[in-house]
């Protein structure tokens, strides 16, 4: 338990430091409006990153989430406009397809033994390609007003999708930290062979995790469509790297076996705060990118030095 707390403590301290510095730099940063708005903007990455925590904690990785977002977005439009389904059904069907993509990842990884990095590298290309081919580079626009409430509206004063993010974070934290599924995840990450020998349902767990990762990406895709009111086949490009950055910053070890949802959430907050706060302080886009890179490496450097018990 002490080991788990260490990195998260560093992170919490860093988060507070970052928030304080940024609030000092600009008086528009620490307003309720701005913070809620940032919550809205980070939901898509957030949903993906929370489920990615499970994936990375098992020692795997999922690079195809960005492409699943694009594919789901396109399919939402296609099912609604070309196939003629009513919009809620179209969105659900699209989410089902995205989840299927995650499921396919899981099957390729467990049934065929392809390492997750390669498997999801391949599906990254494949799903994006499907999105481009199916959409034929056309966008679908003109959704009914009620659909935009999901991405652009508020519920009880808080952005709609932010509720979803909060609920997901709580649910995920409970599953990972308190249930048997969660312990299975850590066991797989620590030593997959031993986990298998102890009779844990390793393959089933992995398939479930990759399916859920696909599901999160698919839901994020629909939210994105609602937020920008159109569909494009290039949606979500590069999002996987943002999600992985947040998860790793949050203390999840890339080798597996370690990681908490709280850490991921802190990682997300730090990155979003930096992106927003630095811009408010007058730093341009490129400077922000450099700083985030430095923060990532520096945090892990510090964490490793503090932990100096030779982690795996």
């Amino acid at each position: 338990m002490k080991k788990f707390l260490r990195h998260e403590t560093i992170l919490a301290v860093l988060a507070i430091a970052v928030l304080c510095v940024l609030a000092y730099q600009s008086d528009r940063f620490f307003t309720v409006d701005n913070l809620l708005n940032q919550g809205r903007l980070m939901t898509e990455v957030g949903l993906v990153a929370i489920l990615m925590t499970f994936v990375i904690a098992t020692g795997g990785i999922d690079l195809s989430v960005g492409s699943i977002i694009g594919l789901t977005a396109i399919l939402t439009g296609v099912f609604w406009q070309s196939v003629g389904l009513p919009l809620p059904l179209a969105a659900l069907a699209a989410i089902a397809c995205g989840t299927l993509g995650g499921f396919a990842n899981g099957i390729i990884i467990t049934r065929f033994g392809v390492p997750p990095l390669i498997a999801t590298l391949a599906t990254l290309a494949l799903y994006r390609g499907l999105a481009e081919g199916i959409s034929q580079a056309r966008s679908v626009r003109g959704y009914p007003e009620w659909f935009y409430v999901l991405g652009q509206g508020n519920v009880l004063g808080v952005p709609t999708q932010l509720w979803l993010l909060i609920l997901t974070a709580i649910a995920a934290a409970i599953v990972l930290g308190l249930t048997r599924w969660g312990r299975t995840v850590y066991a797989i990450g620590n030593n997959e062979v031993a986990a298998r020998f102890s009779g844990l349902p390793v393959d089933r767990a992995k398939v479930a995790i990759y399916t859920m990762s696909g599901f999160a990406a698919a839901v994020a895709g629909v939210i994105l469509v609602s937020r920008v009111s159109t569909t494009r086949s290039d949606m979500g490009t590069g999002l996987e790297l943002d999600a992985i950055t947040a998860v790793v910053l949050g203390g999840t070890s890339i080798f597996g076996g370690r990681g908490t949802i709280a850490g991921t959430v802190l990682g997300l907050i730090i990155i979003q705060a930096l992106k927003n706060g630095l811009s408010l302080a007058g730093v341009k886009g490129d400077g922000t990118i450099v700083l985030i890179g430095v923060v990532l490496v520096a945090t892990l450097l510090i964490s490793n030095i503090v932990h100096r018990n030779g982690n795996r």
């Binding site: 033994g113 590298l121 390609g129 481009e132 081919g133 790297l241 790793v248 890179g293 982690n311």
Partner: protein
Amino acid sequence: MAVADHPTPRSERSVLHRLYSAYGQEIVIVLALVVLFFVVGLINPRFLSPSNLNTIFSGNAYIAVAAIGMAMIIITGHIDVSVGALIGVLATISGTLAVAGYPVWVAWTVPVLVGMGVNALIGVMVAYARIPSIVVTLGMLSILRGGLISVTGGAWISGLPPEFLIAQAKPFGVPAPIYFMVILTLAAAFWMRYSEFGRSLYAIGGNAEAARASGIPIERRTVMVFMIHGAFAGLATLLFATQLQIIQSTVPPNLELTVITAAVIGGVSILGGTGTVVGSTLAAILFAAIGSALIFTNVSAYWLRAVIGVLILVTVLADMIRRRRQGRA
């Protein structure tokens, strides 16, 4: 699957069988290339014309050269997602020096040195600070990408002196990139196989603890292999930056994914410990050939990426099945 449990002893296996199990992936790629050229050549003979072969081979040679370094990194059990951004930065440095009037050889060597330096830093963090390579290179990717725009302000570099453009040179009628690609691949392949350092990389990637126990200085070697990878990135930059008369100061999109995919398809196992640089070069060529072939065979442009994705999947699945059969999975 029972056959796999009792592999025939080495002495009993035929030469062909041994070649296949050692170089299976490379042979598959060569076969795929031959089939591709044959089939597409039938559909449109211009696919085999010297100028198109030149486009395929020398236009994409820089990917193959970068893949050599990447293959070494992956064999050692690491990965580098920042190589695309690094090449973008090195290209800008190279072009700036050339336009500023420095002698051409300076503009050619400085990128290689800078590449080695940047990657040495990455190597130190991976080896000594024990930060996973994917994390360090993820961070480095951001730093390089943002840094490039910050420093150049986004301006392109034009007015390159003609003697700088080495990629357009044609010694003895063969384009220079092809010399680079072939010579570097063969040299690296020999070195990986026959030098102690090269073989130790396989050991480190296969089982780091066992390697350490046999006295291999893992940390030093890790830093060195990253530096070598940086040198190859610098050499790839030479080909990349000198192909056209202007240099963009943006990061070539998706370059790192292409290079990693080429190395992986080439038989370099992401689990570390197996694969050859010859495989990654062949795979880079195969990729370029497929891209060209899809245009020649009029595959609808909208489905291009999907087709490539399917091909990657098929190759990888075939490789995994082949490994299973050999009892190596």
